[in-house]
Amino acid sequence: MHVLINGSQKSKSSNSEYFLEYISKNINECTIFSLKKDSYKNIISSIKESENVVMAFPLYVDSPNTVTICFLDYIYDNNITINKNIYVVINCGFREGEHNITALNIIKNWCKKVHANYCGAVLIGAGEVAGNKKYQFISKKVFKCLNKLSNDIENNIVSKDMITTVSLLNNKLYCMIANIS
């Protein structure tokens, strides 16, 4: 069983949820939890019975959002050992996926401290575009990375750190379109 954790603070549909739902269709037996709606106790007891954990969250102030950090703190402060494989999906509004690297390093450091086994990530740029069904035609690269991550989760193997974003747009064009909308 795999535990998928949505760290978004949005109560309605979020990009993190959208990416996790996509992964859930490519793997067997998984449960999606929301850090905003579900109790930590339920999530942690499911993690203990699981093989792999996938954490998805948005980038805020170049780091994981507060909702996600609260969960990291809860595990660390209560000396809960998470000796599981951890896979990560981070998305940001900027076009370049590279903006997510500092947030990923925080997760990597946390993994070491709670004895979790960090196993790879997809760092997504232009999350608002890639997370919108209408723009699937320019988000193929993003979903290719999510496919690779899903496969590795399903096979319990170490994946890679993949940095990805939407195609067809360059930086200037992305700014122009985003500023109009």
Binding site: S8, Q9, K10, S11, S14, P58, Y60, V61, D62, S63, P64, N65, T66, V67, I69, C70, L72, D73, Y76, F94, R95, E96, E98, H99, I101, T102, N105, I106, I107, K108, N109, W110, K112, K113, N171, K172, Y174, C175, A178, N179
Partner: protein, 165 residues
């Protein structure tokens, strides 16, 4: 004017002699977290829609020449309480994008010379320290801040009044 955002308890805070003019923000009192509604960008223009002592913090930052952040760090990140306050300040920049340093960033709302000096305690490893530097640097690029400092300490007692001169 200086704005000081900290996550210290009363006893620890009392050891510092900040100036009378300093605007001191106790992050431990911030109970409302950003919910990602982007009201600060779309509806309320720069102010957070939660009405509390933190909703208009962007005005204080605008009028400051120095922002001091004193934060606990566990895994190379700000403490949760400090992070919560920083997320409530999204309105300090504009929702629009522009290319700066070859990467996309938010357009700046203000053209001021804010300097950011950070003091982290509880920093145990070199990796945490390296990431704190990358994190603060990334924040500063996003906020259009040129001058910044990242100071890491193992124990909170190592941060003294002399640090802020």
């Amino acid at each position: 004017m200086r704005t000081i955002i900290h996550d210290l308890d009363k006893e620890k805070l009392s050891k510092f002699n900040f100036d009378m003019e300093d605007y001191i923000v106790n992050a431990n009192e911030c109970k409302n977290s950003c919910i990602g509604c982007f009201s600060c960008w779309i509806k309320h223009s720069k102010y957070c829609f939660y009405k509390d002592n933190f909703s208009k913090l962007v005005d204080k930052l605008k009028n400051s020449d120095e922002l001091i952040i004193i934060s606990k760090s566990r895994y190379g990140c700000y403490s949760t309480n400090i992070k919560r306050v920083l997320e409530r300040c999204l309105g300090y920049v504009l929702p629009y994008f522009e290319v700066r340093n070859n990467m996309i960033h938010h357009k700046l709302r203000y053209k001021n010379n804010l300097e950011i000096n950070t003091f982290f305690y509880g920093v145990a490893s070199k990796e945490d320290q390296d990431n704190l530097y990358s994190l603060v640097k990334a924040n500063c690029i996003n906020l259009g801040v040129i001058n910044f400092n990242v100071n890491c300490f193992n124990e909170i007692e190592e941060i003294t009044n002399a640090c802020f001169d």
